[in-house]
């Protein structure tokens, strides 16, 4: 997070002077550093401090002219040699109010860009208004190089003085604060995929919602702002109001500040749609199936439009002159089939809460979602009363927790989570104290160890990769539909078009306002955009490109009432997701402590004592969805629709012209959201036909035929087949058939033995279950053994090959990603990201690229040759063994979470030696042969990579076992 200050010179002609810059270690600077910069006397540097303030008596005009003056003065100063421009709002008094620092900074930044002066000086902001991570991100993103949040520091001083912060002095408090801000900004940058502060500065990767276009053009040039909104005058008015309260003519309040109520609800604070009244009415109505109270709830939510809580609140439904008789409207039962609950993992919420949602959704024919935490196979078996706890939607997220063949086969929808609406760019996070034995088992992870899902899928770096994963998943369960979850943001329509072309059956547009209390506050508040905008864009782009007809559009993000569903339908969605509301119905009272494991109503906790307090019932959730559907019907009748299908995309039934009675909303213009492209009549505006997944061309159709005896009679079969790189995802449909028939058990080892010759395409043996062995003479592409689930994979070069196998790449990148069990023997070198997120498979390979065994939580990996760098990053379970031929492995290993050891005992040595021996037998490996021949020498070169967490857990288990032993003997 260090950065350089001072003028930048010609990039194309670097000279020694180009390096003359001032390096600061953090973009957040304390008062001393600011003073140094202000009084700098180094040659080539000159600073100037300009006030960010305007005369309140002059109102909006005053702010406008103050900004103009500021820009002109800064320009002149730079022309006459200033290289550091410090914008300061310290000079605020009774008559002058501060110009919001972001407005001044961004405005000046763009002014200087226009004037061609921007690189000649650095902008530093000395301001009282920056305090949260998001504020700093914005200031930096709009051009600031450093920020001195003096008021935040003074607040710390005040807190120390009052005894609110104890055991800490000014310097330390400022350091802690600065460090926290730095971490927060870094996190935001990483979410956006930006690695250096220099690239983030001025990148302005933001979308404005509710800012006037002209205003944006002037001060935030080129920032997308799609629905208009407030301009300088409104901002000035708000600033003056705050100033008036800071300098009141009649001071009368106690020394206390407003409490705001943004993060925790307060009566006089920010309005929250979920507040004591609405939560109570929602819970009471669904528990007692009281539609009257439910209508009171939805009335409260729907009328919150006057409070400007949502974009849909600004829309009006156009009711028909002749409404449809409600009896003619599609029944509740068929509407409910379009409902889904959101992806909340077992782990983030309790077993009880998770299963309640699953049972309820199965009862109404809707879909519940596993979230990314896998699912306990016990739930695949229906309950005696006919209920099913099996989640219809199985999510496949970046960490691939518990994504086994059985998990995939038991789904009727497989959802690829590209991002989460509430926290786009972030993976899920489950703190260690929520990872108990059961959760660890279901996730194939280590109890007590926090689980962080990587933000990206390691097998998706492009839309083609996504298409491949869609194909893989379709093969893993041809009966399931595939869905891709995207986050609403500007440009989501283009991505959705890609998703449609990649043959996804469903695309989910997730809005910004969802998320549990475990989501980071910066993300909850400031990341993503409302689903209304994302959905409107998606539908427009899909229709425009005639792709809408082959993909279902789903949306979610704080849908709460029947009216919300109706608006989602009119904007173009066929299906609707609910999460927070469903949890509230189950008893959630929005404590916002989901990350602390202390949920007092047993919803978001794994603590057995607290879980007992869970009172939610599937009936309540069913009641909720019934009442939502009933309300949808009422609106449909009024608008004049008999079926939801008719209603999808009918934006003409929405009205936004009615001005909202609020001085800040009058300039909003939602009409761009309602525009529909002119398309020929044959272009459909909703899904009318299935995607062509191309499974009929899969090699597996032949394999199924040839393996008939094994599939039907468990008779071992063997076959030999040629293969070429057009044969993708080979063995996966066959595997799904084995799992469908024989469950997690699979077939006895080697029941289906197939020997391929040639070059295999991508995802060879993906999700292969137990009982199938694939031998490949030749080589394979990327994703070899992706999600391996008990099967056996062997690959070796053609016997006729003359090259040294151990020195040549034989399989591509991302091998064994997310494997849960099974074995792989690879005679040759694998590419990058080998066995990332492996949680149980055993693999022997003769060399690998960078990032091997990243985030691994289980299994064994033996590398007989060199590894790339960053080995074992984030590895919390399983063990790797490396033959450290040159003695330099430690340099390439990421030692944050692992220790390097030697083998423990003879038993372990035997285990490794046996595996190498098997590798030799199966692949005819010369390398293995050589090692076994000279074992005494090579055993010394074996390095064991042991995750610290895993060692702790193994030790605990040993103690536990010893205790049990003692008890048995004494008992």
């Amino acid at each position: 997070m260090s950065t350089a200050l001072g003028p930048e010179r010609n990039l194309l002609q670097p000279k020694p002077e180009s390096c003359r810059m001032i390096k600061i270690l953090s973009p957040i600077i304390d008062n001393d550093d600011l003073a140094k910069l202000r009084n700098i006397s180094l040659a080539g540097f000159r600073s100037v401090t300009l006030p960010m303030r305007f005369k309140t008596s002059e109102g909006g005009e005053g702010m406008r002219s103050a900004l103009k003056d500021l820009f002109e003065t800064a320009g002149a100063a730079i022309r006459s040699g200033a290289t550091i421009v410090i914008l300061s709002d310290r000079q605020v008094d009774n008559d002058y109010a501060p110009i919001p620092s972001l407005l001044a900074t961004s405005g000046l930044h763009h002014h200087l860009v226009r004037e061609g002066l921007r690189t000649k000086a650095t902008l530093i902001v000395e301001t009282g208004d920056a305090r949260e991570v998001h504020h700093y991100c914005l200031l930096i993103g709009y051009g600031a190089s450093a920020i001195n949040p003096y008021l935040a520091f003074e607040t710390l001083d005040d807190m120390i003085r009052q005894g609110l912060l104890t055991g800490i002095d000014h310097r330390k408090a400022v350091n802690h604060y600065t460090k926290a801000v730095k971490k927060g900004v870094l996190k935001v940058m990483s979410k956006m995929g930006i690695s250096t502060l220099q690239s983030y500065r001025g990148a302005q990767i933001f979308e404005a919602i509710g800012l006037d276009q002209k205003f944006v053009d002037t001060y935030f040039t080129n920032t997308p702002s799609r629905i208009g909104g407030v301009g300088l005058d409104e901002i000035a008015a708000e600033t003056i109001e705050r100033h008036r309260r800071a300098f009141p003519s009649r001071p009368m309040r106690l020394p206390d500040l407003d409490w705001g109520g943004h993060y925790q609800w307060r009566q006089d604070g920010e309005y929250h749609m979920y507040n004591p009244e609405t939560i109570h009415k929602l819970q009471y109505s669904t528990r007692t199936s009281n539609y009257k109270v439910f209508k009171e709830y939805s009335e409260l939510i729907n009328s919150a439009s006057a409070r400007l809580c949502t974009l849909r609140g600004l829309m009006e439904l156009k009711f028909a002159d002749n409404p449809v008789p409600i009896e003619e409207v599609e029944p509740v039962e068929s509407i409910m089939k379009r409902f889904a609950t959101g992806a909340m993992s077992f782990g983030s919420i309790s077993k009880e809460a998770h299963e309640t949602l699953a049972i309820a959704m199965n009862r109404i024919g809707g879909r519940s979602n596993t979230g990314e935490g896998g699912e306990d196979p016990a739930r695949y078996i229906p309950d005696p009363n006919g209920d099913s706890r099996c989640s219809a939607i199985k999510q496949v997220a970046s960490a691939r927790f518990g994504v086994t063949s059985q998990y995939l086969v038991s789904a009727n929808e497989l959802q690829i989570k590209m991002a989460q609406g509430a926290k786009p760019g972030e993976g899920g996070q489950l703190p260690g104290h929520k990872v108990d034995e059961v959760i660890a088992r279901v996730r194939y992870a280590t109890p007590g160890v926090g689980l962080i899902s990587p933000p990206p899928h390691h097998d998706i770096y492009s839309i083609e990769d996504l298409a491949q994963l869609i194909y893989d998943l379709k093969n893993s369960n041809p009966r399931a539909r595939i869905s891709v979850k995207l986050v609403a943001e500007v440009g989501v329509g283009t991505i959705a078009a890609g998703v449609a072309k990649a043959h996804s059956d469903v695309v989910l547009i997730s809005g910004d306002s969802g998320g549990t209390g475990a989501s980071p506050l910066t993300s909850i508040k400031h990341a993503g955009i409302p689903w209304e905008l994302g959905l409107a864009e998606t539908h427009q782009v899909l229709v425009q490109n005639n792709l809408r007809s082959r993909i279902i559009v789903q949306t979610d993000g704080q849908l709460k009432t029947g009216r919300d569903v109706v608006i989602a339908a009119l904007l173009g969605a066929e299906e609707y997701g609910f999460a927070t509301s469903a949890l509230i119905v189950s008893g959630c009272i929005m404590m916002r402590v989901c990350h602390l494991n202390t949920c007092p109503v047993g919803v978001a906790t794994q603590d057995p004592v607290l879980r007992e307090k869970f009172t939610g019932k599937p009936e309540h959730v069913v009641n909720y969805f019934r009442m939502i559907a009933e309300e949808v019907r009422e609106f449909m009748a009024k608008i004049g629709f008999r079926t939801i299908d008719e209603m999808v995309g009918r934006r003409d039934k929405l009205d936004t012209r009615k001005a909202i009675d609020h001085w800040k909303a009058t300039k909003l213009d939602l009409s761009p959201m309602l525009e529909m492209p002119e398309v020929p009549a044959h272009v459909h505006v909703r899904r009318v036909h299935q995607q062509d997944h191309g499974l009929d061309k899969a090699l597996d159709n032949l394999l199924l035929e040839l393996a008939k005896d094994a599939l039907e009679y468990k008779k071992p079969v063997e076959m030999q087949l040629p293969i070429r790189n057009a044969n993708r995802t080979v063995g996966t449909i066959l595997g799904s058939e084995v799992t469908r028939r024989y469950g997690a058990e699979g077939l006895p080892d080697d029941s289906i033995n197939i020997r391929f010759t040639g070059s295999a395409g991508q995802s060879f043996g993906a999700f292969l279950p137990k009982g199938i062995s694939l031998m490949l003479e030749g080589d394979a592409n990327d994703y070899f053994g992706k999600g391996l689930s008990g099967g056996k994979l062997v690959v070796f070069p053609p016997t006729a090959a003359t090259f040294k196998a151990e020195e040549n790449i034989i399989v591509g990148n991302v091998v064994l990603y997310g494997a849960t069990s099974g074995e792989a023997f690879i005679r040759g070198v694998a590419g990058e990201r080998f066995a990332v997120r492996n949680s149980g498979a055993i693999a022997v390979v003769e060399g690998i690229g960078d990032h091997g065994c990243e985030y691994m939580t289980g299994g064994r990996v033996i590398v007989l040759g060199r590894t790339g760098r960053n080995f074992a990053a984030g590895m919390s379970g399983g063990i790797a063994y490396i033959v450290d031929q040159d003695g330099d492995f430690a340099e390439r290993c990421n030692l944050e979470m692992v220790d390097l050891e030697s083998l423990e005992d003879a038993q372990e040595e035997q285990f490794v030696r046996d595996l190498i021996a098997r590798h030799m037998r199966l692949t005819n490996s010369a390398r293995a042969q050589h090692m076994l021949d000279d074992w005494a020498q090579y055993r010394e070169k074996l390095v064991k990579i042991m995750p610290l967490d895993y060692r702790r857990v193994l030790a605990e288990k040993k103690v536990q076992a010893a205790k049990t032993y003692v008890m048995v003997h004494h008992g």
């Binding site: 609110l164 009566q267 006089d268 004591p276 109570h280």
Partner: protein, 473 residues
């Protein structure tokens, strides 16, 4: 929130009451001192909810989670500021509020709620003890004058707020002492009156003026108010008591609760009231009609006066021990409660309808009653359940209809709504511009905490009316 698992590890502990044998022989408050460290532990039970229902349950919107946490961390002064931000008189509510906040405490879903009220009273008592509660004279005087009629909790809260806003406030009280129901309604054993005096002294020092024995429309003409003041706030309470219209009501020995309580309160103040004018329960068989808080106040008073026997009748049926299904959290729990007075003795009878009184020598001697059942909202007498009871003193604690209409209200010409209360608009103004109403007078009988809220709200709108805008919360 200081303690993450406080609610799991610490159980609710209430203030302890003094031994019954001791307390029924004096008039002092019934609660004992509670150790500070134990109170801080109680504050640690607060979960600092994302949506604090207590904060909604409290009519004042007290920011309960904030001060709970501050108390837990020993930040008493900060806690005080946070408390005073929404409540002018926590020393009153902390003693006599039934604490709807606790009824809506999220912990109450499946455990005992936080002892919010005890924490509140400790914060303010401690602040008084440490001298933190000092007069804060307004910095700027507006030169505007406001008359507040009625010195109960609504009037006092409004006066305090309006004074802070810089107006000259005069509070008119028809009784001989300031305080309204706080003074003469609440028995000493629930709130010792020096608590009230202490607050009034501060208000005087801050510049609020008080006029006692000033009955507007009777001995102070309404024209004077109109002439002398820029705005008028009516906070005269709902003093029109509900009567029991049954044969024998005219007999001696049947009194309204307020008359009874007031006399004892005056004696506690040190007033010399001859026995002939006093109402005492000493050595009498007492029946209290009405099962509410006022009834309980009569009960505790009668205990202390030395009643021979006391029975309290309630028309409604006995509430359940736990919440009924149609009375879910976070609504106020309609459950069977035992106040300090109930603990001290007496019997409670539910579903009883008093039919008539019989007398001897013009004095009540017997009460005739019958048991009733409810069918929905209809009362049905249960055949053959009639009974009689010997009685020397009957106290009617059956609530209030609304404000007294003759006199001031009539002369001011303010409209009355269908419920008999002074009609006000959303900004608390009556039908007469510049005249506002708050508290029971506008709302009908309610809690002290509602009165304070009403007074604060009205003050805000009076300030806005006078100045064009307001910064009052």
């Amino acid at each position: 929130m200081g303690s993450l698992k406080g609610f799991l590890e610490i159980g609710r502990v209430n203030f302890e009451r003094r031994p019954i044998e001791e307390r029924i022989h004096d008039w002092q408050e019934v609660y004992q001192e509670f150790p500070e460290d134990k109170l801080q532990a109680q504050a640690a039970r607060c979960m600092d909810c994302g949506i604090p229902f207590c904060h909604q349950g409290c009519p004042l919107g007290n920011i309960i989670p904030d001060w709970n946490d501050l108390v837990y961390r020993g930040q008493w002064q900060e806690a005080l500021y946070r408390l005073l931000a929404t409540n002018n008189f926590p020393e009153f509510t902390g003693r006599i509020c039934p604490a709807p906040c606790e009824g809506s405490c999220v912990l109450g879903i499946n455990a005992d709620p936080v002892t919010i009220k005890n924490i509140e009273v400790t914060i303010i008592d401690r602040a008084f003890k440490e001298g933190l509660i000092r007069a804060r004279r307004p910095v700027v005087r507006t030169g505007k004058a406001v008359a507040v009629v009625g010195s109960g909790p609504a009037g006092l809260a409004a006066a305090a707020q309006l004074n802070q806003a810089g107006h000259w406030v005069t509070v008119f009280e028809r009784a001989d002492r300031i305080g309204g129901l706080l003074r003469y309604g609440i028995p000493e054993f629930k709130m010792e009156k020096h608590i009230l005096d202490r607050r009034l002294n501060i208000m005087r020092e801050e510049g609020v003026m008080f006029r006692i024995n000033a009955n507007i429309g009777i001995n102070v003409p309404v024209e004077e108010l109109r002439r002398e003041f820029d705005a008028i706030l009516l906070a005269g309470g709902a003093t029109h008591a509900r009567d029991l219209q049954v044969p024998g009501r005219e007999l001696k020995g049947i009194h309204f609760a307020m008359d009874y309580l007031q006399l004892q309160n005056k004696r506690c103040e040190g007033d010399k009231i001859p026995d002939s004018e006093f109402i005492t329960a000493k050595d009498k068989h007492v029946v209290i009609i009405g099962g509410g808080d006022t009834g309980a106040d009569c009960l505790g008073t009668a205990h202390r006066q030395g009643a021979r026997s006391i029975v309290q009748f309630e028309l409604l049926s006995k509430p359940p021990l736990e919440r009924a299904p149609d009375n879910p959290w976070p609504n106020w729990p309609n459950i069977f409660r035992t106040s300090s007075a109930h603990e001290e003795g007496g019997e409670r009878e539910y579903s009883v309808l008093t039919k008539k009184f019989a007398g001897r020598d013009g004095h009540v001697a017997q009460l005739h009653a019958v048991r009733v059942e409810f069918e929905g909202r209809n009362i049905k007498e249960v055949p053959r359940t009639e009974f009689t009871l010997d009685v020397d003193l009957v106290l009617l604690a059956m609530g209030f209809f609304g404000p007294e209409r003759n006199g001031m209200l009539e002369q001011l010409g303010v409209a009355v709504n269908e419920r008999g209360n002074v009609a006000t608009n959303a900004e608390k103004m009556t039908s007469v511009p510049g005249i506002y109403a708050a508290g029971d007078m506008a709302r009908g009988q309610s809690l002290v905490v509602w009165a304070i809220r009403e007074g604060r709200e009205a003050a805000k709108f009076v300030d806005k009316y006078l100045m064009g805008h307001t910064d009052l919360p």
